[in-house]
């Protein structure tokens, strides 16, 4: 099952550090490279998700992410976090999370009922990296 692939990938990739914003040049265009994997390659989700774009994630950072969101031209447009509500309620905190870019033009936070990969109801925290990013990810 694809979920198992993510877990397996996480096991192999754990020793590898994620490229974060201080290395943001490596993340600006898709694909971002290891340890990130394309979400639609590991989970039954569309390659381009309307509103989120094409997502990459380091499996070791699930469920929170960061998920790197690329537009149709492969340009990094947003960094997204997915935080299960029950985990937050039960005391889990997600601290020191990486960002895909230091430039953030706006932030959207909204509820999501769940999807493969993060099945528990959770919040999407979306950091858009430029003014047009939201429209490019819309569809």
């Amino acid at each position: 099952m694809k979920t198992a692939l993510l877990v397996a990938a996480a096991t192999f990739l754990l020793p590898v550090g994620s490229a974060l914003a201080h290395e943001e040049g490596a993340l600006q265009m898709s694909p971002p490279g290891a340890p990130y994997i394309q979400v639609s390659d590991a989970l039954p989700l569309p390659e381009f998700i309307p509103g989120l774009g094409t997502l990459f994630v380091d499996p070791a950072t699930l469920p929170a992410g960061p998920f790197l969101a690329y537009d149709h031209d492969g340009r990094l447009s947003a960094t997204i976090y997915m935080t299960p509500l029950d985990d937050l309620r039960n005391g889990t905190s997600y601290d020191g999370l990486g960002v895909g870019s230091h430039t953030v033009s706006s932030v959207d936070i909204y509820y999501n009922a769940g999807h493969p990969g993060v099945e528990a109801p959770h919040a999407h925290v979306v950091l858009f990296h430029d003014e047009d990013a939201k429209s490019r990810l819309a569809e």
Binding site: P44, L45, P46, I49, P50, G51, L52, Y110, Y111, N112, A113, G114, H115, P116, E119, A120, P121, H124
Partner: protein, 175 residues
Amino acid sequence: MPARRQVLAIGGGVFAALGRPRALWADPVESVEMKGTARGERIWFAPVGLAVMPGTTVRFTNRDPGNSHTSTAYHPDILDRQLRIPPDAAPWDSDFLLPGESFEVTLTVPGVYDYYCMPHEMAGMVGRIVVGRPGDPGWQGAAPDSADLEPDALAGFPPVDEILAKGRILKEEAR
């Protein structure tokens, strides 16, 4: 003796002569769509409650452009879940359907069939199909509540009598 297809053709001709729809002779097919809001705040089966005749084929189609869904029967053979379909009925699991994909199942045993979406059961994405009517041979009514299901899932099943009375129940109408 004429073959079944020939009988259907003859029957269709008689029906046409009587001014009744020829489609009544075809095996019935009903549709259930998997839907969701643009940001995934809400997801649901439409209709969430459906009454059909035995032998009906139900086609599940994912109409949610940003998510994948399953139609999965509550059955011990699938993830050891509570039996919530008639004991003599075969369980089904569509596996994940990406946007635009479909899955069909034909329901022949009378009774109440409860099913769910694997990644969205916690969010209450469940559905109920009533095949036939109480009193039909082999009829199996609704399964009792169980700790196997989350409260949001149990709350999502429309009452059987309401499904039978209305035929189709959309989420907005479900209790």
